[in-house]
């Protein structure tokens, strides 16, 4: 019964895409659209198959995902402890909040020029941008999450004998978790877009680069393929990883406080 439900919702979700694909397959040839303007479905699929076979597509996807993974993990390792440490004191957190909000605004893309100047082209600069995009937002959200844990809940834990380590693991981290997860989700969104933008100008491998180079040669089928891959990747990441994580923490615990 559950399976039927899942299949049914999967069907409803994919139906509009199926319609779109059919329209695509029919309209492009019908209107004789110049392939240098917009590719037909067949050539995109072809480009996709070729890309897989010669490994270039996997190479680009792998490079992009690796940069995201490294940048994100580094950022989280620094941001979460920092956010907790700052969020514990109401004086510190209210003082630092404007600072972090300011830097959250600059997250990601605005750092591209300075990153390429400091790190040159390539892996370092791009990972820095991703780190940046995730770091400020996650720190800010962690700070917010910890500082909005009601004082009485922390007092309750103290009066039940919680020491500092227990306070951290049993109260501060779980309490801030919904905000942290929201921060990760937003930060990754910025990071993903920053990644594509940075790859367009600062490197020679990756999905952004793939798109940009294809433009030079008017290979629209590669561009459209790249766009679809980008869309699918992010959808997968968001729907399969981030959204369930968010749902699991926020809805389960009935905490409605969100940044």
């Amino acid at each position: 019964m559950r399976l039927r439900q899942q299949l049914s919702s999967a069907f409803t979700f994919s139906a509009p895409f199926a319609v779109l694909l059919v329209l695509w397959a029919l309209l492009v040839p019908y209107f004789n659209v110049n392939p240098r303007l917009f590719p037909d479905l067949g050539s995109v699929m072809q480009a996709g198959i070729e890309g897989f076979q010669d490994g270039s597509l996997i190479g680009h996807i792998g490079a992009s995902l690796l940069r995201v993974a490294v940048g994100t993990v580094l950022a989280l390792v620094v941001a979460i402890p920092l956010g907790v440490a700052m969020g514990v004191s109401p004086v510190v957190s209210s003082f630092l909040t404007p600072l972090f909000r300011f830097f959250s605004v600059l997250a990601g893309i605005a750092w591209i020029p300075i990153a390429t100047l400091w790190f040159g082209y390539g892996f370092g600069a791009i990972t820095f941008i991703i780190f940046n995009a995730v770091f400020f937002i996650v720190t800010y959200n962690t700070l917010l999450g910890v500082s909005t844990i009601p004082r009485q809940v922390r007092d309750a834990a103290a009066s039940l004998g919680a020491g500092r380590w227990a306070m951290l693991t049993e109260v501060l981290l779980p309490g801030a978790l919904p905000n942290i997860v929201t921060g990760i989700r937003t930060g990754l969104g910025f990071a993903w877009r920053g990644l594509i933008a940075a790859e367009m100008i600062a490197t020679n491998v990756g999905l952004g680069y793939m798109l940009f180079v294809a433009r030079d040669f008017y290979r629209t089928e590669v561009i459209v393929l790249g766009m679809i891959v980008i869309g699918v990747l992010w959808l997968l990441l968001d729907r399969l990883l981030l959204a369930p994580l968010e749902r699991a923490t926020i809805e389960r615990w009935g905490m409605v406080q969100r940044a």
Binding site: T12, F13, S14, A15, P16, F17, L20, R36, L37, F38, S94, F95, L96, T97, P98, L99, R101, F102, F103, V105, L106, G108, I109, A110, W111, I112, P113, I114, T116, L117, W118, F190, W192, R193, I196, A197, M200, I201, G208, L211, F212, A214, R215, Y218, T220, I223, V224, G226, M227, I228, I230, G231, V232, L233, W234, L235, D238, R239, R258
Partner: protein, 268 residues
């Protein structure tokens, strides 16, 4: 009473009267640290210039008329893009929110196209429209439209059914309900969507200017990078940050709060 307590007391009274001061004061130590770090030459001046140079550059660019012109270009693009994003996004959001059929047909497509992101469209846009205003506007509209639509849909759907029923039982037609119930009811969420949308649109603008621009703040930063001049890059980033901070904290956030409170609805 010790002088420290007196000073703290004065500070608290000051911030109660002018809350904005509390938003500015935290930046003072940052600026001070920045200044010290550059004076101590911890990094080569070429890599990290100090606040003095940035201010000087600000002055000279304003004097040469470059900065005001670029600022204006950026603002105009953002305004045009935001306008169309909102003008298209709200009706679309209301449609998807109210009609189950529209929702089923369009929701997956909305999610997918949002996932592609505005930046990925730049290459094909450049092929179609070149490097001009249309490309820029498209990117901004594309970015703004999704938060607006999604938040509008959320707002529409979170209106309690009892309100619809009340309106119906008082003789309102479907069309009247849209105007009298749906729009006001969804307004707090719509404003949130506007705020988010403008935030994303702002970033999209900078990205577009960096990658394909010929003027504007983003272009300023990228051009400076090509010339190897970090000063203008930092200047650009600071201007971006301050501008957005001002617009968001002092214009958009209060509007969002006001609509939420006015309608007595708890949005977030």
């Amino acid at each position: 009473m010790s002088p420290l307590l007196q000073a703290w007391s004065a500070y608290v009274r000051l911030t109660v009267r002018w809350p904005s001061i509390a938003s500015i004061v935290p930046f003072v130590p940052v600026a001070a640290v920045w200044w010290m770090v550059t004076e101590l030459e911890l990094f080569p001046r070429v890599f990290l210039p100090g606040p003095v140079e940035v201010v000087r550059s600000f002055g000279s660019l304003v004097y040469k008329g470059i900065l005001p012109e670029y600022l204006q270009d950026s603002m105009v693009r953002l305004a045009v893009g935001a306008f169309w994003g909102i003008a298209l996004g709200i009706p679309l959001g209301i449609l998807v929110g109210t009609s189950q059929r529209a929702h089923t047909a369009l929701w997956p497509l909305l999610l997918f196209f949002q996932a592609i992101g505005d930046i990925a469209w730049l290459p094909i846009l450049v092929i179609w429209f070149g490097y001009g205003l249309i490309t820029m506007t498209f990117v901004i509209v594309y970015t703004v439209i999704f938060p607006v639509v999604l938040n509008t849909v959320l707002g529409v759907r979170s209106i309690p059914i009892t309100m619809h029923r009340a309106a119906l039982s008082l003789g309102a037609s479907r069309a009247r309900i849209l105007w009298e119930v749906v729009l006001p009811g969804a307004l707090p969420n719509i404003v949130t969507g506007l705020r988010n949308g403008l935030g994303y649109g702002w970033r999209a603008l900078i990205a577009a200017e960096i990658i394909v621009g010929t003027s504007g703040i983003g272009f300023l930063m990228f051009d400076a990078r090509r010339a190897g001049s970090v000063v203008e890059i930092l200047l650009g980033m600071i201007i971006l940050g301050i501008l957005w901070y001002i617009v968001d904290s002092w214009i958009l956030a209060p509007i969002e709060r006001a609509t939420g409170q006015r309608w007595g609805l708890v949005t977030r």
